[in-house]
């Protein structure tokens, strides 16, 4: 059934919300009698949702952080970092998933790869910016004390860039969790399934799943925000305020802006 041109909900608002909550807490019967909703089904969908998101994030991190550290350490490829986030931003996530489905087919792996592509730019940019922003004098002093290039990256630049890396990770995580909602289009049943397949779940199922997805996204955001705070070296935290007077970074279209694709 097409979603377009559906009439506005005829049920009163309160009743719809009530039905949605009912859908979350207890199993219902669909029109054709299939059991839908309830904690056990939603938990299953949530698990797939999280598995998909985490695998994509993990792979994206393993790819982006080393590259970002390398580019940032040598201060090369700023254009690459910026271009990655600009191009990434311009391709809608729906289009990205659709392109993967059209060219590679459906399935967990393909969707995960699409999400990896989505997750790379913020982490790459966050890492690059974090490392490149480390004061050159600090790096110079480290080199002067005899640290090797690898030691400089490992002991100086990485710790100082950690907050920025986690910032990118946070943006990616929120994007990936959001985009995983449309994974059912490619055959992976996440929490988006009740939202997309209305014919089975109905408006109550849709709203119920939307509530769960929104909660999941907010939890992801809050969790990564905490992680980012924890990752900020203690010596930098208290100075944050006084640093505000330092000159603004050069205006790069989007290196410091989050990318959002949902």
């Amino acid at each position: 059934m097409s979603l377009l041109g559906l009439p506005a909900p005829s049920l009163p608002v309160g009743s719809l919300v009530g039905d949605a909550l009912e859908f979350i807490v207890s199993e219902q019967r669909s029109i054709d009698g299939t059991p839908i909703g309830g904690p056990s089904q939603l938990w299953g969908l949530t698990q797939t949702h999280l598995e998909l998101s985490l695998s994509a994030l993990l792979l994206a991190t393993l790819l982006s952080v080393p590259i970002g550290l390398l580019l940032g350490h040598y201060r090369k490829g700023e254009l690459v970092a910026i271009a990655a986030s600009n191009v990434g931003r311009a391709v809608p996530s729906l289009a990205l998933i659709a392109l993967f489905v059209a060219f590679l087919g459906t399935g967990f792996l393909n969707v995960a790869l699409a999400l990896v592509l989505l997750a790379i730019p913020p982490i790459l940019t966050g890492t690059y910016v974090g490392v490149a922003a480390v004061d050159r004098e600090i790096v110079d002093a480290a080199r002067g004390q005899g640290l090797t290039e690898f030691q400089i990256v490992r002991q100086v630049e990485l710790p100082l860039a950690l907050a920025s890396i986690f910032g990118g990770l946070r943006t990616s995580a929120v994007n990936v969790v959001a985009t995983a909602t449309i994974a059912p289009l490619a055959g992976v049943l996440t929490l988006g399934d009740p939202i997309i397949a209305t014919s089975v779940y109905g408006d109550a199922g849709r709203l119920g799943a939307s509530i769960v997805v929104a909660l999941l996204a907010v939890l992801t955001e809050v969790g990564f925000a905490q992680a980012q705070r924890a990752a900020t070296p203690a010596g930098l935290r208290s100075h944050r305020r006084s640093l505000r007077r330092s000159p603004a970074p050069p205006i790069l279209t989007s290196t410091t802006q989050p990318r959002s694709t949902r």
Binding site: G5, L99, T179, T181, R259
Partner: protein, 246 residues
């Protein structure tokens, strides 16, 4: 391959009902029937995409314009009342976090389906980017410039409109660029809320490469076109940023 029946019989990947027709059977063995990338087909059927493209552009531009007006007002309010910056950022951050698709249906009980629902959600997403952009711009004005401006006798209003905002312009435009290309992406989901756009085309036949590629390219082209306009506006408005040492 077929998508039908992939999702425990729950998801129905629709190829019908959205005004999108493609007769596969009539053309057995052709590029189209193999779901390929077919320039001829694209040339013949381009007309089908102009309507959704237009809808998409209207959705995007409306959302960014309204979002900017709101974010700009909030940023100005927070100029005098600094303590509001935190709450405003957090609030717009929460709105930004909620997945678009979920947002559309969270609005279902309130605004139902249609253009309004899509716009409310899209506007909500632009707020964080735009609010932060305007604030970053205003906060990056050198303190000595502000001091000098006050010192030579500019009123608060003159300081804002004649000094701070012009100097914040590069950052504001940068935020507008991010917001508009982000919104182009999010607006692909607007058809779930019944507001049309290129997303409907993509969704209508996910396996047909010609369709997916064309619709995606149109999205990218729209995003790029809006960015180019914004870059040109910025170049026109900020001649001093290009002044080099003579």
């Amino acid at each position: 391959m077929s998508l039908a029946g992939l999702s425990t019989g729950a998801s129905v990947i629709a190829q019908d009902g959205s005004g999108f027709f493609r007769d596969r059977a009539s053309d057995a063995g052709s590029c189209v029937s193999k779901n390929g990338f077919c320039p001829d087909w694209i040339a013949d059927n381009f007309g089908q995409y102009t309507g959704p493209l237009q809808e998409h552009a209207v959705l995007t531009v409306t959302a960014v314009v309204i979002g900017f007006v709101i974010a700009f007002a909030l940023a100005l309010i927070a100029e005098k009342r600094r303590w509001l910056v935190g709450p405003f950022t957090q609030l717009s951050g929460i709105l930004y976090t909620i997945p678009t698709l979920a947002a559309f249906f969270l609005l279902l009980p309130i605004t139902g389906r249609g253009f309004l629902t899509a716009e409310v959600a899209l506007v909500a997403y632009t707020l964080l980017i735009l609010f932060r952009g305007v604030r970053t711009g205003l906060d990056s004005v050198p303190p000595e410039t502000v001091d000098a401006a006050k010192g030579v006798g500019l009123t608060d209003r003159q300081l804002m409109w004649q000094v701070k905002l012009p100097l914040a312009l590069p950052q504001i435009i940068a935020a507008l660029r991010v917001a508009s290309s982000t919104t182009v992406g999010l607006a692909t989901l607007a058809f779930f809320a019944g507001a049309g756009g290129l997303g409907g085309k993509i969704y209508a036949d996910l396996t047909f490469k010609s369709n997916v590629v064309l619709a995606s390219l149109l999205c990218v082209a729209l995003a790029v076109a809006i960015e180019i306009v914004l870059v040109l506006v910025q170049r026109g408005l900020t001649p001093w940023t290009r002044a080099v040492n003579a």
